[in-house]
Symmetry: C2
Subunit: 603 residues, 2 copies
């Protein structure tokens, strides 16, 4: 498979899935009984191949030939001609229904394997992958909360790749603050609704990649409670479908314009007008919508999807970090420049820049970020599998608790640090990395979205400290504490390196738990949450140190490049990265009020 070796490392994926997570053992469970290590391997082979051959080749074109707004026909988004064939190839594998039940055409793959699949496409072409990601997430939400009829009408065509899906949450005045959604949904006599309003930042909001687009729209039914408790969820298709499921009349969902982004340019990002009269179907004004589940419970359904989407954001960030790492590594091994500091003889040839200590530092940092982030995302996939299929109820509960506290970390840590890794990839390539002739600056620009969408760092931080670690008397925090303590105990029985890092990690664990509990007990909620994003960052580094100690233990005394590489990256992480948390915990322990004491007029 030429090309895939610059996307991800297959040996590393195999190491993480099998040597570390033991994914093969899942096949002993009934849900995965049709699978085996061989079917897992085959699926990954197919993903690597399609990613390299159908996705990667037009990644740059997605950046240079941005979708354009064509006002004809009430407004449409026009994409270049390589996106659809790539998505059709992906749909042809059945992977849009990777984890779905066989009964709806699904492959019943474990989430952990699907997470590995996803990473190939995201590394190859995040913008084209986003269409499939949104469609799959939309379908999964309807599988969980939609009616059997909705599954039949909307989900089946999505899983087959004929229809696509979106998530319509934001409005211009309601981005982070969904309580302020103003889109209205008026009930009709036939049980449907008519929606009016404007949705903003809708990824995949318009295109002609399939027969239809299934928008999942948050809106308020008049008379409902104020704020987030009055939000309901609707299916609002671009085209209404007939009794046979065939798209027919255009619904009143109109593309008002496209946002032009720093990166991620291949994914249309739309402003959609609902019910402005551009395509009013018969009956009352408004776009036709169908309620999902119960009225006023829309946000809780959406959060089901958002938890999945948040880990998906982290997975995308990890994949972008990974491919940029591999590309900068390749450059560093082949670019001659300069001579060793210990002997600068101009009569000697230049050395490859990988010989310079600072270049190695930048590569080790990227390796620790990218491989660490991918490992975290895969682990979250396994937790989802455990939550759904562990025969032991206590195991399912523990997996759910861990997943709950790790979700903001899996969303934000890769978004922050694999973006930092992309920045280092640019730096390794120097002037060349700053040009659009090479890939790394695009990876940076694409990745820069990840700390923003699906909830900013600031929001993830408040969610982690204020809700997830505090819920059920801190049961999630306790589960994380126990997870890390278990690894520390195993590492203490290991080799010299493992022993050394075990003590470092145990100290960081104790500080994390102590500081978090102290903040939970802080009565002033403003002060408690003032540095929530610092808490999130510190938590992330402790979790990743755990990930690296786990990988060190899984590598054991392997004497090959992979084993040595894991040990080197673990050493890097424990020496250069984990110590960053010390001052962060100090700040948190002091319940610092620098930001809350500020008068904005002083800025």
């Amino acid at each position: 498979m030429p090309g895939s070796s610059q996307l991800l490392s297959r040996p590393d994926l195999d190491f993480l899935l099998h040597d570390w997570l033991g994914a093969g053992s899942l096949t002993a469970r009934e849900r995965f009984a049709e699978h085996s290590r061989e079917t897992f391997d085959a699926v990954l082979d197919v993903c690597a191949e399609i990613a390299a051959e159908r996705f990667a080749p037009h990644n740059k074109r997605n950046d240079t030939e941005e979708p354009r707004f064509d006002p004809a026909g009430g407004g449409r988004a026009v994409l270049h001609d390589e996106v659809r064939p790539a998505l059709d190839a992906l749909a042809g594998t059945g992977l849009l229904a990777a984890t779905a039940d066989a009964g709806v055409g699904g492959l019943q793959l474990p989430h952990v394997v699907r997470s590995a699949c996803v990473a190939w496409f995201a590394a190859a072409n995040i913008s084209t992958w986003a269409y499939a990601f949104l469609t799959a997430a939309n379908a999964n939400l309807l599988l969980a909360h939609g009616s059997p009829e909705q599954v039949e009408t909307w989900v089946r065509p999505m899983l087959e790749g004929r229809f696509h899906g979106t998530m319509c949450l934001s409005e211009t005045q309601a981005g982070s603050s969904l309580a302020d959604v103003t889109t209205r949904a008026e009930p009709q006599d036939d049980g449907s609704y008519r929606l009016t309003g404007t949705k903003m930042w809708i990824s995949g909001g318009d295109h002609e990649l399939g027969e239809n687009i299934v928008h999942l729209v948050l809106a308020k039914i008049p008379g409902g409670p104020a704020g987030v408790k009055g939000i309901s969820l609707f299916v609002v298709p671009k085209f209404l479908v007939g009794d046979d499921g065939t798209p027919g009349e255009r619904n009143d969902v109109v593309l008002a314009g496209l946002n032009h982004k720093m990166g991620y340019r291949g994914t249309t990002n739309a402003v959609l007008n609902l019910g402005e009269g551009g395509h009013t179907p018969g009956g009352a004004p408004g776009a036709v919508g169908y309620l999902v589940g119960e009225p006023h419970r829309g946000l809780s359904y959406m959060f089901h999807m958002m938890n999945e989407a948040r880990i998906g954001v982290g997975a995308g960030a990890a994949a972008l970090g990974y491919t940029a790492y591999l590309k900068s590594l390749d450059y560093a091994r082949t670019r001659p420049q300069g001579r060793p500091v210990a002997g600068r003889d101009p009569g000697q040839p230049q050395v490859p820049i990988v010989e310079h200590a600072d270049v190695r530092r930048m590569l080790l940092a990227q390796k620790s970020y990218a491989e660490g982030a991918l490992a975290l995302v895969l682990y979250c996939g396994l937790l989802l599998d455990e939550q759904e299929t562990d025969p032991d109820p206590a195991g399912r509960d523990r997996a759910g608790l861990l997943l709950d506290v790790l979700t903001p970390v899996a969303k934000s840590w890769p978004s922050q640090w694999c973006l930092a890794g992309n920045d280092l990839a640019i730096q390794v390539l120097g002037g060349y990395g700053y040009t659009r002739e090479y890939d790394v600056e695009q990876h940076y620009r694409d990745n820069r979205l990840n700390p923003i969408h699906e909830g900013t760092h600031g929001i993830q931080g408040i969610d982690l400290l204020g809700r997830r670690t505090a819920a059920r008397d801190g049961a999630g925090l306790d589960a994380l504490d126990g997870l890390i303590a278990g690894t520390v105990a195993r590492a203490r029985a290991g080799g010299a390196e493992a022993k050394e890092y075990a003590e470092d990690l145990d100290a960081a664990r104790a500080r994390l738990v102590g500081v978090t509990r102290a903040l939970h007990a802080e009565p002033d909620v403003t002060a408690r949450l003032a540095n929530a994003s610092i808490h999130l960052e510190a938590t992330g580094h402790v979790v990743l140190a755990w990930i690296w100690l786990e990988q060190l233990l899984a590598a054991g005394d392997r004497a090959d490049d992979l084993g040595h590489g894991k040990r080197a990256a673990a050493r890097y992480f424990f020496r250069y990265e984990l110590p960053r948390t010390g001052p962060q915990f100090d700040l948190l322990a002091a319940v610092d009020r620098t930001t809350t004491d500020l008068d904005p007029s002083w800025l």
Copy 2:
């Protein structure tokens, strides 16, 4: 002056120049005797006006209408039509010759005032400003090392804005490693040289903004020493000039192509072929060049310019950090979103996001980076003035030592942290900040060049630890030590905040000096320099903590917004930023060998 208030804060500039640095007192010196506080103010007024009215309006256009390569006429770069009028307006003020002697048409302004002037243009439009920056730097080099005839022929027209200048150092195989320059310069009977070779990454390498382009080119005269000791410096004009100084015949400098960058797109970045026969003048093949100074001493002349250029890079980074800070502050004050964490009543209106603690943190961080970086750059300007005009020889020597150790910091710290600030500006604006409708993502992309050109962080780090702090038995380090200790002593006599920060800074100073001396004594040069970029980063944060303590002292007990703002930013820096250096010093003190022990095949 509508518009300039989003570029820089004039009250802050006045505070830094006068309340802190006492720039007005320089007028007591003979060189600046024609000046006064009033002339300084007037010059700054003009800069702010031209920056806002002539530079800022086409900043976005520089990004969207990149210069294009026109192969006609042997290759030329075509720019849009707003760049030249802006540069002509700037030249009309005489500011290209801001610090030059009156004898060559200069204004004889202090460097510290010129640094403040520069910041306006860089904040408004870094790409257009770059042409002027390069021309002025080229002229200053020739003023220092060129012959009177060269000054007459090339410098005067540059200072008048009729000719432009470039620096041609890099080649494809010689970027960071100038020892590997292969461009050849063959002496001719008439005393001139003929140059053949290819130069890469030449900013301003071609355009039609004036009558001529004066390239300063590094090349080797055959038979000279190997490596950097065999490099000579030449003037190679685009057009040869007649006896009356008028440009005439085209020289054999041919634009081979343009590099397409992530940002900084308005500044042409060229590949130039010298002596490939495209425009061979009469005589031997090659581009006609004129030796500057002595043979084989070119690099030392160029380093004169490079020290100035490095501080200029830091100034540009500071300015981009500053304007993005002000723009994100304006957004944060006016964008309603969400409600206070202490009382989330959806019945209450949303609050401006500046009310959220995490947004305040991101604004305070930007403020501390941007105002701190600008202060550092201005201080370096003052040191240059002291080095040149302090009546006391010991004062001149001390200023030179401080400038020597602070130059890599002034180059790299703003490049790293004001870039980080731009990233925070994007984050404050959220999805909007990620679009090209707003300015901040372009500021990020423009600023991303600054950690690369004029020497990467890695190179600055080796320069600081391996050379500048070690030279003359560590005299530069001692000077820095004394500078900080003096401020600590003054702060200990101050208020409660000053006292507290004085102890923090003194501890950091002691660690910096101790760790640096220990590394100087490390016999293994590879290990000594392995973490030089970490040392650079830690040094930068200690220096900036000094800057913030200085500003705190200068603000005294001012009770206005500026005074409160300085105290808040100082508090932020001492609580959130300076503590980052603790783990860095630990790593340095351990002479960590993680990177040097690595086998590249493990990556």
